[in-house]
Structures are given as structure tokens and as C-alpha cells.
């Protein structure tokens, strides 16, 4: 029998109660014990599983007053009203007058006369002057007595009625709308013989429920018997603290960068347009700079950049190419436009500011951070998401090195088949895009933009060597890794997901 052979204290309490009186309902057990209804329910569940009790369903029929029944309590039954009228008239009256005075319908009246005759309270006689009703007795009728009893008790279980009452009830049943019946079923619990045997055992053995410090210190634990638990049963669920899956993915990508010997950098979210756009050779009338794509801060302009001597250089590069050998964009550059503050639309300003500040002759740096686009939130778009970005600069680095780095970078992320296609970005030339064949979805997926920073971008920063750069959206990789379709889901923070998700650890 093993662990089932010992009762749990709740089970013991229930069986103990049933031993006094078997066949009790759950409510009865609850009121007989100190257990809560919830505990009793749980205990019964366990006992049922152990086959120590049987559940029996019992049906009860209750009788209650219906509309006419209630009416009769106030006004009397129709036959009572006939008797009362006869008493008023001196004990005898012509039948037609009785009916008229009581204002009864023919059907109701003749039924009432019938009931009154049957109970021996009146008799009907034919005389010369007509048909007369004669009062014999004013005694309480059986039907009246039963209706009143039901009325006072509100409802009566049929089993509680006497044999005689049951007969009266059968009569009343024939009269429509006087009484009605309600069926109620109730479950009773019956303990089986082996339950009582276990209970005896339980009562005999001084099981200890809890190991207390006293038992340990005093050494009494050696003498007692611990109640065995049902170790195969259900237990309450607890939830561990967890890292957010997006953060976990960020950390995995960071690890790849770090293992490749890259240095991590960061930068501000809020920037003047100058750093987000102008210094990247994005012309001031470029569609990406419009308010419908970029978040501008209301009424906030970065006046500090006006004092930065670099703006003269950037202005001349935009307008006619400056000293970079470029033709420039051929328009009038405005510092006012450059002062407008934006939420960075990409992570490239972070790397660009790094280049301006450190003027490295060689470097490998990366950043993974949030970027912002003025988008409607839907299943494909977020207004706030993450980009990862890396740059490499050095004396002899070329596009072929970049292709090499990316091939191993994406291999680490689990992409096996990668291609490079030409594309266009205002701040890199050549500009390429890396695409990977994803078997899961049977499609080529855009991974990132990549290229060599244009001279118009790096010469003003004082960088002479080629700067290789690549960057892409992180969420699309996460969606793929977690097989999620709706991008919003990542930031809806459903605790059910956060508490239970298995981290996407394997390579994609």
C-alpha cells in the first residue's frame, strides 16, 4: 500500500467524522469538523483517489406553493369562501345566488362545490324553490392544513410528509397552480471499511507532522514517526525570478561581439539632428528626416551645436562636397534644421560620435541599444526597438574583411547560408545588405545593412582609414528564435510568458 497507507490530518479528520455518522454531505462534514469548506473538498478529492470513500448522489423532491396556493393563504380556498358565505346567510342559500355573490367562474365554482361536498361540509338539495346549498360543518379542511404547513415552512421535502398528508398532496396536485415541485440532488460521502481501518491506525500511531527545532535540539526526533507525505501528489506552483527574453538575447549577441574582440560603446538617445543625420551626410530634405518617420522633441533645440566648429565643415560638405572630393548634395544647408532634437533613429550616431571623439587609427567597437521611429504600433512595427551595430577600422581593412566578419558573426547566430546584395544607404559606399536563407520560413531574410563609411562622413571626424560598418534590427532575430509572429508581444510583458518561456539558446 505504501504511502497511501497513512492518512493526511485532513483526511483523518474527515474519516473520523464519518465514523460517527456515515453518509454525510460536504456541508455537513464541514460543520461537524474544524476544517474549512476548501480543505474538506481537497480532502475528499484525495480520499476518492485513494478509493477510501464512495460518493452517492441522492435526489430530494421539495414541494412549494405556486401562485394560487399563495393566493389561498390570504383569501381562503374557493370552498372556504362558500362555507363562509353560507354561515353568513344562516346556513342555507340558493346555489345561483351563492355563485353570483362570490363572483366565481362556473368551472371554479362547481369544482369548489365538489370539494366541499367531498369533505362533508355541505350538502346540495333540490327543493320546489330551486337548488339549495346547506352548510353542515365549518371544520378546517385537510387541504387547507397542508397548504398552511407548506407556507410556513416555505418548502417541504416529500419524504417528511405523513401518509395522510401525501394523499392530500396528491389531491392538491390535481388542482393547477396550487403547488409546485423542485428536484434537488445532493452528494453524500460514505467512508468504506478500509478507511476506518486506516483511521484506527492513524489514531493509534503518534505521527509527527512537522519537524520542529525543538525536536532537533532535544533529540526527540529519534523517537517519533514522521507522517509520510504523498510525494507523488500535486504541489503549489512557484515562479523563479527571470531575465527578460529580449535581454537574454541581447546578452547572447553581446557575447558574440566580445568573443570577437570588440569593445562595447554607448551614447545618448536624444540627439540634435546634426548627429543623427547631418554628420552622416543625410541631406536635410531626405524623406527619413520627416516628422512622419522621426520623433522630434517638441520645442527643444540643441543650441550648443552652433558653437561646434565642425558645423562649418559639414555645411560645406553637404552643399558642395567640401574638401572630400565629393560633389555634395547641392542645396543650402541650414543650422536651424541641424539643431532640432530627435530620438535617435539608428545606432550609427553612437559609432560616429565614438569616431569623432577617439579618432582611432584602428578599432573594433559595437553597441546594442534602442532606436526610435515614428510608427504606428502593429504586428510588424514598433516605435521603439533595438539595433546592433559594429564597426571596424584599420589601415588595411577592406570590404572583403567585412564580408568575412559578417560570415562568422551570423554563423555564430546560427545562419548557415548567407548572401550579400548591393543596396543603398546615404552614409556608406559601397552599401550592401546581408541576407540569409532561413529554412524555418523558407525565405531569404534581410539581416543587416553594411558597407564602408563614405569619405563625406569620416573625413570630418579625422579618420583616414576605411571604416567598415554593419547594423541591423535585433527584434526580427528574436521573433525568429522564439517563433513569434507579432512583434508587439515582445514588450507586452505577459507574466505567463516571462515566467515560463524557455530561452532560445540554441543557434537559430
Amino acid at each position: 500500500m505504501g504511502m497511501n497507507s497513512v492518512l493526511h490530518p485532513i483526511e483523518a479528520e474527515i474519516i473520523g467524522t464519518l465514523k460517527k455518522k456515515n453518509n454525510l454531505t460536504i456541508n455537513e462534514i464541514t460543520s461537524e469538523t474544524k476544517l474549512s469548506l476548501d480543505q474538506v473538498r481537497r480532502g475528499i478529492e484525495w480520499l476518492k483517489k485513494k478509493e477510501l470513500i464512495e460518493l452517492e448522489e441522492k435526489k430530494y423532491i421539495f414541494v412549494e406553493l405556486d401562485t394560487l396556493g399563495i393566493k389561498s393563504i390570504n383569501e381562503g380556498l374557493p370552498e372556504r369562501r362558500i362555507l363562509n358565505l353560507l354561515a353568513e346567510k344562516g346556513g342555507k342559500e340558493e346555489i345561483g345566488k351563492v355563485k353570483k355573490e362570490l363572483g366565481m367562474e362556473e368551472k371554479e365554482f362547481s369544482a369548489a362545490i365538489g370539494f366541499a361536498i367531498k369533505s362533508g361540509c355541505i350538502e346540495v338539495t333540490k327543493e320546489k324553490e330551486g337548488v339549495f346549498v346547506k352548510l353542515l360543518s365549518l371544520k378546517l379542511l385537510d387541504s387547507e392544513a397542508l397548504l398552511k404547513k407548506i407556507y410556513t415552512k416555505k418548502q417541504i421535502e416529500i419524504g417528511e410528509l405523513t401518509f395522510h398528508e401525501k394523499r392530500v398532496l396528491d389531491e392538491l396536485k390535481k388542482r393547477p397552480n396550487y403547488i409546485k415541485f423542485r428536484e434537488v440532488s445532493e452528494i453524500t460521502i460514505k467512508a468504506k471499511e478500509n478507511a476506518f481501518t486506516l483511521f484506527e491506525e492513524y489514531s493509534r500511531t503518534p505521527y509527527v507532522e512537522k519537524l520542529t527545532p525543538e525536536l532537533i535540539i532535544s533529540g526527540k526526533w529519534k523517537e517519533v514517526k514522521f507522517r509520510p507525505y504523498d510525494v507523488e501528489g500535486e504541489v503549489p506552483t512557484v515562479y523563479p525570478g527571470r531575465k527578460h527574453p529580449v535581454q537574454d538575447f541581447i546578452d547572447q549577441v553581446r557575447e558574440i561581439f566580445l568573443s570577437f574582440g570588440f569593445e562595447e560603446i554607448e551614447g545618448p538617445v536624444v540627439l540634435p539632428s546634426f548627429w543623427n543625420f547631418d554628420a552622416l551626410f543625410i541631406p536635410q530634405d531626405h524623406p527619413a528626416r520627416e516628422m512622419q518617420d522621426t520623433f522630434y522633441l517638441k520645442g527643444i533645440f540643441d543650441e550648443r551645436i552652433e558653437k561646434n566648429p565642425i558645423i562649418g565643415v559639414i555645411k560645406s560638405i553637404h552643399e558642395k562636397g567640401g574638401d572630400t572630393g565629393s560633389r555634395g548634395w547641392n542645396y543650402k544647408w541650414s543650422v536651424e534644421e541641424a539643431k532640432k532634437t530627435v530620438l535617435r533613429t539608428h545606432t550609427t550616431p553612437i559609432t560616429l560620435q565614438y569616431l569623432y571623439k577617439n579618432k582611432p587609427s584602428s578599432a573594433k567597437v559595437f553597441s546594442i541599444d534602442k532606436v526610435f521611429r515614428n510608427e504606428n504600433l502593429d504586428s510588424k512595427h514598433l516605435f521603439e526597438f533595438h539595433q546592433y551595430e559594429g564597426i571596424v577600422t584599420g589601415k588595411n581593412v577592406t570590404l572583403r574583411h567585412l564580408i568575412g566578419i559578417l560570415s562568422s558573426f551570423y554563423k555564430e547566430l546560427g545562419f548557415k547560408k548567407i548572401k550579400f546584395w548591393p543596396t543603398y544607404f546615404p552614409y556608406t559606399e559601397p552599401s550592401l545588405e546581408a541576407v540569409a536563407y532561413v529554412e524555418k520560413i523558407g525565405k531569404w531574410l534581410e539581416l543587416c545593412g553594411m558597407g564602408v563609411f563614405r569619405p563625406e562622413v569620416v573625413l570630418p571626424a579625422g579618420i583616414k582609414n576605411p571604416v567598415l560598418a554593419w547594423g541591423g534590427g535585433l527584434e526580427r532575430l528574436i521573433l525568429l528564435a522564439y517563433e513569434i509572429d507579432d512583434i508587439r508581444f515582445l514588450y507586452e510583458n505577459h507574466l505567463s510568458w516571462l515566467r515560463g518561456v524557455n530561452y532560445a539558446r540554441t543557434k537559430l
Binding site: 562595447e264 532634437t341 504600433l377 584599420g394 574583411h401 564580408i403 568575412g404
Partner: protein, 542 residues
């Protein structure tokens, strides 16, 4: 990015040799075009707005003819003079000074017409910046009696605009037509308007708004007149050169138009190519490949450019067609070499630049905080930096608003994390309690009028029937001890987000670094929550 749809069959009409669907799908991405979608008959490609020569099936076919079928470059074009002259009224100088044009003979079809109009629209939207930089008018030249006058008219001047059947005044056009409403703002704030008309006073166009109906194109059109007006000459000439190149791709014969400004004469279109210099060394530095001069020359042929060795073979001179407005710098030529060579033929090279990986120091601290709170049973959540004004109101004197957010309820940069976390609890009302969440992220403060300070903070909320100030203070203590923070004190504080008498600030070196307490039931109820919530938010500067 503009998108172009066409049938494979249509592309094949312009190709030297027919290509099957698979071949086309293979080649298209190599040209720098992005395949948006395709089926067995049709393909949808996205092209960069700075390559408007890809804006028609004929243009793409030309690129394939050079790139794949090695067709010789066609850069220099012989243009004869047409009888068309445009006289420019001096009064346009203040409102829209420049006009250029061309005349062409061409066999139109319904398809050609559709493609040209689509290109015109893409030019307007892309390099035309929604007609800000130039406006193009395409006309059935057989309806025009030259010479043409580019002049001005008043607001009551009337003509029948394109696709209308009654006359409308300029004011009516501006206030009633779709184009008037879309582009009216581009007009100079003067009471005169630019009008292009012929010697019979027929209106060709009211730039940059709408053409006249009289010169409307149809599939029967055989002669085409193109006008482009602008506030600057160069963008107009750029656009005209692109249209000229495309018309040539369609097999048109192009003639020049004389433009008579009051102070000068101009023959347009100007299709004279640009000459640029390049060295093999700069190709090697960027692409990492060493090419011989004749290899470079051959590669340029594939992209419809002509190259030759100059300066004793030290440099290479490249002849760039006028319409390649995207070629700004030597690096743009290097890119042409790159894709003429084929990027997929560029073999990867291992990088020999060794250094140790170096994470940011603060990221290590964040990792410590994360470990500590996770150990205390907290779940990490990630919410947006953009937040709702009403929810953030209590935490800053001046909130930082973003202009015209498309997702309207996210309208400010957050100044506190706790309200965002309360929303997280609110959306998890049916999940088992206790609930403990935290986030590490930035908040934003406005200093003075225009300086924005970004701070990283950690915030956490605890919710269950028995949570209290005591619990949250214990958590804060545990976290600070874990981080080895010294010399901090708690001081009673009043803050409208918290129950009075159950709120404290955290002080270190006389600076307020944190806030904690039991959240006011008003906010709990407002989020539809039923259990008490306690919370903390601590600044992580230094």
C-alpha cells in the same frame, strides 16, 4: 522606397535576349534592386530613389543588357534641335524662375504611357521631394502651337485642368482639386502664379500643381513635350536628364528645346556626361581586390560607363552618363566596380586586428543588479521609453514631449519607470500572485530649456495581499548591500504617488538617489488592480 511591378514578358521586350523567370530573379538583386514579391508572371521590385534610371522596365532592361549581355555603353547621344522655344517672362523670377524641356518622338502604347506616368510620380516623390525640388509636365506635343510662354497669371485666370471638363480659376484649382490641396503650399506667397502656355494661349500647365487638359497624353500620342519647372536649375536638369535617358530606353528620338531667359539662352536637355578620376589603388583599398586597368575598363562597360587609362596609366578616367546623379565621389565609382565585379565573387578575408573584447563597465553593474533582483524572485520586464503624459505627470515638472507621435498615447519621454511597471501589473491581473517585477532602463529629465539629461534607473514593484513599506525597504536594503553601496540613509518623504507616511527617499552624499513606498490606492484602483503595491526606483549614476 519606390516600388515597380511588371511582367517578365514586358522586361523581355527590351532585353537583348529573352530570360526566363529564374534567371531574372537571379539577376535583379545583383543590380541593387530588392525583390518585394513575385509570382509566375509578374515581379515587384523596390528601387532606391537615387537610382531613378531603374524607375521603368525599360531602364531595368537596359541595365541588364549592359550587365549581363555585355552590351556596349551608350553614353553620348546625338540630339537635334526642335522648333520648340520657351520664352521665359521675367516676372517668374520671384516665384518659380526655372524651366527646362525636351521634345521627343515615340511610339506610345497604353503600357508605355502607364510606365512613364509611374516614373514621373516616383521622380516627384523621390528626388523631387514631393514636387518641392521640381515639377514635371508631360504633354501631347501635337496639340501645342509653339512658341511656348512661361509667364504669370492672376488668381482669377481660368483654364480646363487635366481630367476636368470645365474651366476653373487658379483659386478654385487650389481650393477644390486634390492636387491643389496637396501642393498649393509649394507656391510662393505672391498673388501671381506660374503658367506655361502656347502661342494660342492654350494652358500646358500650372506648375507645380496641375497640367492643362488640352495637352493630355493618350496611347495615340506620338510626339511628347516635357517641361520641368523649379526654383533651382540643377535639380530640374537632373530630372530632365533622367527622363531623357528613360525615353531613349523606350526607343524615343529626342530633340532639344531652346529656353529663352531674359538674360541668357539655354539648350535643354543637357546630356553631356561627367568625367571623373579613379585609381586602382583606391579600388584595392576599399574592395580588397587588385584589378588590372583593362579589367577595370571592362567592368565599367557593364554599368554603362566608359573608362580609359590616363596620366601614363596611373589613373583611370571614367565617363559617367549625365543622369547618374547618384555618383558624387570616387567611392561611388568604386561601388560600380564592386557590383560590376560581383559582390558574391568577393572572397572573405580574415581580419588581423587583435584586441580583447571589452564590455561597458556599467553593463557589469546592471548584470549585478539583475542577478540580485532575480535572486529575490523578481521578473525582469522591458517597457518603452516613450510613455503617456498623464501617467508621467507626477514625476517631472516639465515633461519632454515628442511632436506628432503616430501612436498617440505614447507622447512623452518617461521621467519615471514605476508607472510603466504598474501598467505591466495591470495587464497581468489574472496571473498568480505575488507578482514582483523590475526594469533597468533610462529616464529623461529636462534641465533648463534645452538640455536633456539621460539617467539609468532600476525600478521594481511588488504586489500581493500583504506587501508593505517594510517589504520594499528590505528589498532596497538587500540590493544596496549586494552592490556594496555605502553611506545611504532613508528619509521620510511626501510624494503624491505614495500613501502619506509610507514613503521615503534614499539619500547618499546629500543627494537624493531613490524613492520608495506604498503606492497610493488611487493609482492601484485606476489601473484596475486589487492588491496593494509597493515600489522603488533608484538612480544608478555612479
Amino acid at each position: 522606397m519606390p516600388v515597380l511591378s511588371f511582367k517578365y514578358e514586358r522586361l523581355n521586350n527590351f532585353l537583348e535576349k529573352k530570360l526566363c523567370k529564374e534567371e531574372i530573379l537571379e539577376i535583379i538583386p545583383l543590380l541593387g534592386l530588392n525583390i518585394e514579391d513575385f509570382n509566375d508572371e509578374e515581379i515587384k521590385v523596390e528601387y532606391s530613389p537615387n537610382r531613378p534610371d531603374y524607375g521603368s522596365p525599360a531602364g531595368i532592361a537596359k541595365a541588364i543588357n549592359h550587365f549581363y549581355f555585355n552590351k556596349e555603353p551608350s553614353i553620348e547621344v546625338q540630339i537635334d534641335k526642335s522648333e520648340y522655344i520657351v520664352h521665359v517672362d521675367r516676372r517668374v523670377e520671384e516665384i518659380r524662375p526655372y524651366v527646362v524641356g525636351l521634345y521627343a518622338r515615340l511610339q506610345f502604347s497604353e503600357q508605355t504611357l502607364k510606365e512613364l506616368i509611374s516614373l514621373q510620380e516616383d521622380l516627384h516623390e523621390g528626388i523631387g521631394r514631393k514636387r518641392k525640388k521640381f515639377a514635371i509636365g508631360l504633354h501631347d506635343a501635337s496639340r501645342i502651337r509653339p512658341p511656348i510662354y512661361y509667364t504669370v497669371e492672376g488668381p482669377d485666370f481660368k483654364f480646363v485642368p487635366l481630367y476636368h471638363n470645365t474651366q476653373k480659376s487658379i483659386l478654385e484649382i487650389l481650393s477644390q482639386t486634390e492636387q491643389g490641396k496637396l501642393y498649393g503650399h509649394l507656391l510662393a506667397k505672391k498673388n501671381v502664379f506660374p503658367i506655361l502656355k502656347d502661342s494660342l494661349n492654350q494652358v500646358l500647365s500650372f506648375p507645380p500643381i496641375i497640367n492643362g487638359n488640352v495637352t493630355a497624353l493618350s496611347e495615340k500620342t506620338k510626339e511628347l513635350f516635357v517641361d520641368i519647372t523649379a526654383c533651382e536649375l540643377e535639380p530640374a536638369e537632373d530630372a530632365l536628364s533622367i527622363l531623357a535617358a528613360t525615353l531613349l530606353d523606350y526607343g524615343a528620338k529626342i530633340y532639344s528645346v531652346e529656353i529663352n531667359f531674359y538674360d541668357k539662352k539655354l539648350e535643354t536637355p543637357n546630356l553631356s556626361p561627367r568625367k571623373m578620376l579613379l585609381t586602382k589603388d583606391s579600388i584595392r583599398k576599399i574592395l580588397g581586390i587588385s584589378l588590372k586597368t583593362n579589367e577595370v575598363i571592362n567592368i565599367f562597360k557593364k554599368v554603362n560607363m566608359r573608362a580609359r587609362a590616363v596620366k601614363d596609366g596611373k589613373e583611370i578616367e571614367v565617363i559617367v552618363p549625365r543622369h547618374r546623379i547618384d555618383i558624387l565621389h570616387e567611392v561611388d565609382l568604386i561601388e560600380e566596380v564592386g557590383y560590376g565585379f560581383g559582390y558574391n565573387k568577393l572572397r572573405p578575408l580574415p581580419l588581423k586586428l587583435h584586441q580583447n573584447g571589452k564590455p561597458l563597465r556599467n553593463k557589469k553593474i546592471f548584470e549585478d543588479i539583475r542577478n540580485c533582483l532575480i535572486g529575490l524572485g523578481f521578473i525582469e520586464v522591458m517597457t518603452f521609453y516613450l510613455a503617456n503624459k498623464e501617467e508621467q505627470d507626477l514625476f517631472a515638472e516639465h515633461l519632454i514631449e515628442v511632436a506628432e507621435p503616430k501612436t498617440k498615447e505614447y507622447n512623452v519621454l518617461r521621467s519615471a519607470i514605476m508607472p510603466q511597471l504598474l501598467k505591466v501589473l495591470s495587464s497581468n491581473i489574472h496571473e498568480p500572485y505575488p507578482q514582483k517585477v523590475f526594469e533597468i532602463g533610462r529616464i529623461f529629465e529636462l534641465k533648463g530649456r534645452s538640455i536633456i539629461k539621460e539617467k539609468v534607473k532600476v525600478a521594481g514593484l511588488i504586489s500581493h495581499t500583504d506587501t508593505s513599506f517594510t517589504e520594499v525597504k528590505s528589498v532596497v536594503n538587500a540590493l544596496l548591500n549586494y552592490l556594496g553601496t555605502k553611506n545611504y540613509t532613508f528619509k521620510a518623504y511626501t510624494h503624491p504617488y505614495f500613501i502619506d507616511g509610507r514613503c521615503a527617499i534614499l539619500i547618499q552624499n546629500n543627494r537624493k538617489i531613490g524613492l520608495l513606498g506604498e503606492i497610493l490606492p488611487y493609482y492601484i484602483q485606476k489601473e484596475g488592480l486589487r492588491h496593494p503595491v509597493s515600489g522603488f526606483e533608484i538612480s544608478l549614476e555612479k
